[in-house]
């Protein structure tokens, strides 16, 4: 995942073969240890206390033992059967787990800069450290977008790498800022503590990060660097929207209304944003397609045509992004229905948000049918990807701003 941060070949060798497999085993053991703590730890499972339990002596023993057992058993396994070390699931997942571990470490480091607990209050949240980390993320993402756009006009490999590096830096800044906010919400008051996906400000940070991650994964796999100008442009737009939200006082940590107090929130919302993020990337690919096809139609021989993916590749990339987004969005909608069944008494109420989720689903469902079964390609579908994103945008922004319904968590009575 963070391959761009290290020398390609050393990193590749570290995440493939035995070293990667042993690390994979360690992570797996660590996760199992954490699960074991939740089920069998002394004191039982308490949602409010679990995080603190995890970092207590008991948590370290559980997770540490799990990690050691995991690492040892994978070492033994890979000695007995060397071919298992190349198992696809391990090589694919281990870099993601590395990234997650790095993110956690970074967050733990940044948490040291929090003001003392006596200085933290609900009424004045300006001294919380996450605010500064979010500012860093904003700056870094905008810088990345500028680099990518510059890369289009000056296809220099250094500028391109700069864009990729800063995009990764932004992801880590945004991710750690969200985790910090999670921690801070508990510092303010354990009663208020909740996952940082409860308001527009927080989910926009999540959206920026997820979009960038999806894009960077595609970039790495398919060498589609010049598409970044379009995707990171969208991310930069989201960053500006977030800055505006902060300026009108929407950035503070607020306690959760009863309807949101559920573990479903932690699953449903991030899953949705995997969908939204992927659809944004598809939109970026669609825009790149339309731009390139216009250049080609005019018979231009601009230098950018040499670095940009071909029309066919862009078409594929848009489809790839939808292929990530569509199952994720489907799952997210189903999870939402499951939550609704538990909180509102019905899995489907034709609430505006639900209906718009259905509309988004139908839009991309039709896209896939047109493409896969009708064999549609090219400009029509590129426009469809862009239009689909506008529908998506309305679903997660427009509905909250213009339409009322069960997703506007204003009041219960």
């Amino acid at each position: 995942m963070s391959v761009a941060l290290a020398n390609q070949s050393t990193w590749e060798s570290l995440s493939h073969g035995r070293p990667g497999f042993i690390r994979f085993g360690a992570y797996l053991g660590l996760i199992l240890g954490a699960v074991g703590l939740a089920f069998y730890g002394s004191g039982g499972y308490d949602q409010q206390q679990y995080l603190f339990q995890l970092f207590s002596g008991q948590g370290l023993i559980w997770c540490g033992t799990g990690a050691i057992i995991g690492a040892l058993s994978s070492a033994v396994l890979s000695t007995l059967r060397p071919s298992i070390a190349d198992a696809k699931i391990a090589t694919n997942l281990v870099s993601w787990l590395d990234g997650a571990a790095l993110l956690l470490l970074l967050t733990a480091l940044l948490a040291q800069f929090e003001p003392p607990k006596s200085m933290i209050s609900f009424n004045d949240q300006s001294n919380l450290f996450s605010g500064r980390v979010i500012m860093t993320m904003n700056v870094v993402f905008i810088f990345s977008a500028v680099s990518y756009i510059a890369y289009l006009f000056a296809p220099d490999s250094f500028i391109g790498r700069l864009g990729t590096w800063t995009a990764w830096a932004g992801v880590y800044a945004g991710g750690s800022a969200l985790l910090l906010r999670w921690h801070e919400s508990y510092l303010i008051n354990t009663d208020i503590g909740h996952a940082p996906v409860s308001n527009l400000y927080e989910v926009f940070i999540l959206l920026c990060c997820v979009t960038t991650i999806v894009y960077l994964t595609l970039e790495r796999r398919y060498q589609a660097k010049a598409m970044g100008a379009f995707v990171m442009f969208l991310v930069a737009a989201a960053v500006f929207f977030d800055i505006w939200l902060a300026s009108v006082g929407e950035a503070s940590i607020k306690p959760l209304v009863p309807a949101l107090q559920s573990y479903w929130m932690k699953i449903h919302v991030p899953m949705n944003f995997v969908g939204y993020g992927s659809f944004s990337v598809a939109c970026g690919a669609g825009m790149a397609y339309l731009w390139r096809s216009r250049l080609e139609a005019r018979g231009s021989n601009a230098r950018v045509l040499a670095v940009m993916p071909t029309l066919d590749q862009l078409d594929q990339l848009a489809y790839k992004a939808v292929a990530i987004g569509f199952p994720a969005f489907t799952l997210a909608t189903i999870l939402g229905a499951a939550w609704a069944a538990e909180a509102w008494g019905g899995y489907w109420s034709w609430d505006p948000k639900e209906t718009w989720a259905l509309i988004v689903w139908l839009t991309y469902g039709a896209y896939l049918h047109a493409r896969v079964s009708h064999g549609w390609h090219g400009r029509g579908l590129a426009w469809w990807a862009v239009a689909g994103f506008l529908v998506t945008l309305f679903c997660f922004l427009g509905v909250n701003m213009y339409l009322s319904g069960l997703h506007s968590y204003g009041r219960l009575s």
Partner: protein, 559 residues
């Protein structure tokens, strides 16, 4: 007859066609937009107000106010179901057959059509069996079959052979979900029940079209208590009802429910949905404004109207809240939350009076440690958003202030009413002496400010008395939602299948590979061809094919 059969068959084919499917998806998406822009299931009068006669009746005849239950929307859904069913009916047998059939031998002609194709010429010394063995080693991870024909060896490799199951599952799943939804609508119910604390109910009500329907439950629900917890900053933290289920006169279950944790009894789920005042007992003090210093006490309840027989002025009590937490900080300053205490809301009506809505607080408004007298909020429009604060000046919880007010009015009148500053001060001193004797209250300066405020505001009140909340005995009602949904598990089954199907479809592409080894001609060694194809993820397959090609290259060279 033949003709009819033919056209029926044609129709059948059309129904399952992809064009129709895409069209239905698009039409459904567009139709669904209407129901989100037009608020559904509101009061008919509001619609009439909003759209005027013409459009109201147009919309109403199209059923747009309860759009998702109109015949035409349901027909669209039914169309989608039929189209899906036909599509499955037509394609599933093909797909199953295709998955079973794995042709190993491939003709040269079809080999040429492959986009991914590579040939090797191996030297004279190469042995067919050796080459096959080497190639097979490189094909680990592929499901291989082999055959021999006309002296050539054919190897076929497959990955994701069950890809087509993805299509079948995903499409069947949507059908199952729709069927589940249909079961929910026809055999389930969903309705509301409002139960005041201490009472029980066994009937739910729900809206169908524009009419309210009622349904008897096989048991009754008693609300033992309802409790709201608040965050320090004011918003509600938890709504909790303690309920007892009474079946055949016996309490069979007593349990707490909160918003995300319903209870279940006899297949019926009971949800915490809303709350409100369940008819709290309210005691008001009426401070007469006729100069008589008279104070009456009125006992009434929320949702009742009390009428003064003498003056004809009536008070309709609409709501009561024990906590009223407000942000006292100005805009842009750090927030500062205060609880203003209990308040009652009522509408004052009377002969010659403009009806207004009032929110009357029980406690005086204390800010910065300074008592600023009893607070009232007035809404001329009757809407809660239009409340304007109105400080009465006097602290009505202290009977002495009411006395002082009148003493001051009298003293001021006796002094001739020239209303200079000194005169007023004299009158204030006299009134203080009359009410408090020699023991002046400590905050007499604040008291002076309040008195002046009272002199200013009380004469502006048009009613014969000022109603102030004096005491209360709060009763909530809990708003429950009761549902029974036999289709839910069908929907969940469909959902699981849908996700599973999509994952197979998108992440398990069917990749096929043929490797042909044949003698190139007498004494000219062997010719090896490898060809591959995929139905998804072309970019990924390209990489995989190139890697395989490179590996085979290396193997053949070293051998």
């Amino acid at each position: 007859m033949n003709n009819l059969n033919e056209s029926l068959k044609q129709m059948f084919v059309r129904l399952g066609s992809m064009t129709l499917a895409v069209a239905i998806l698009c039409v459904l998406a567009i139709a669904s937009v209407i129901g989100t822009v037009l608020l559904q299931n509101q009061e008919q009068a509001d619609y009439l107000n909003q759209f005027g006669q013409l459009w109201y009746w147009t919309f109403r005849s199209l059923g747009l106010f309860d759009m998702y239950h109109t015949w035409w929307f349901l027909t669209l859904l039914a169309f989608l179901m039929v189209s899906l069913a036909v599509c499955l009916w037509r394609n599933v047998p093909h797909m199953l057959k295709e998955m079973r059939m794995r042709k190993v031998v491939i003709t040269d002609k079809s080999l040429k059509h492959f986009h991914h194709l590579h040939h090797w010429k191996l030297g004279d010394g190469a042995d067919m069996a050796d080459v096959k063995r080497l190639a097979e080693r490189e094909l680990s991870g592929w499901e291989t079959l082999e055959a021999e024909k006309d002296g050539a060896i054919y190897l076929r490799g497959d990955k994701g052979r069950f890809h087509k199951w993805g299509y079948i599952l995903a499409h069947a799943a949507v059908l199952i979900i729709l069927i589940g939804g249909w079961i929910s609508v026809h055999y389930g119910f969903r309705g509301n029940m409002s139960v005041p604390e201490g009472q029980s109910d066994n009937e739910i009500e729900f809206l169908r079209g524009t009419a309210v329907h009622h349904l008897q439950m096989p048991f009754s629900v008693r609300c033992n208590s309802f409790h709201i917890a608040f965050y320090p900053s004011g918003p509600p933290k938890e709504f909790r009802s303690n309920l007892s289920i009474i079946d055949h006169g016996k309490v069979v279950m007593t349990k707490d429910i909160i918003v995300n944790e319903p209870l279940k009894y006899k297949g019926v789920r009971i949800y915490q949905a809303s709350f409100g005042d369940g008819g709290s007992a309210i005691t008001l003090k009426l401070f007469g404004l006729d100069g008589s210093e008279k104070v009456d006490t009125v006992k009434t309840r929320v949702y009742q109207t009390w009428k003064d027989p003498k003056t004809g002025v009536s008070l309709e009590i609409t709501d009561f809240r024990p906590f009223n937490i407000e942000n006292m900080a100005g805009a842009g300053q750090p927030k500062d939350f205060h609880d203003l205490g209990p308040a009652v809301e009522f509408i004052v009506r009377g002969p010659g009076l403009k009806p207004v809505k009032i929110k009357s607080y029980m406690n005086p408004f204390v800010y910065d440690g300074q008592n600023r007298g009893t607070l009232m909020e007035v809404s001329e429009s009757g809407d809660g958003k239009d409340y304007q604060p109105f400080l009465l000046g006097l602290d009505f919880t202290n009977p002495k202030e009411w006395e002082l007010f009148h003493a001051f009015v009298h003293a001021a009148a006796n002094l001739g009413g020239s209303n200079t500053k000194e005169e007023r001060f004299k009158a204030f001193n006299a009134a203080l002496k009359q009410v408090y004797g020699d023991k002046r209250p400590k905050d007499f300066q604040d008291l002076g400010v309040r008195l002046l405020q009272g002199m200013n505001s009380l004469p502006r009140i048009p009613w014969p008395f000022i109603p102030i909340l004096d005491d209360y005995d709060q009763v909530y009602y809990t708003g429950l939602q009761l549902t029974e949904d036999p289709g839910m598990n069908v929907v969940w089954t469909g959902s699981v299948l849908l996700v599973l199907g999509l994952c197979i479809m998108f992440y398990m592409p069917h990749r096929k590979l043929w490797l042909v080894i044949r003698p190139a001609g007498k004494g000219e060694g062997l010719e090896v061809s490898v060809a591959g194809m995929t139905n998804r993820n072309l970019l990924g397959f390209e990489k995989e094919f190139q890697a395989l090609q490179a590996r085979l290259n290396a193997t053949f060279e070293s051998s």
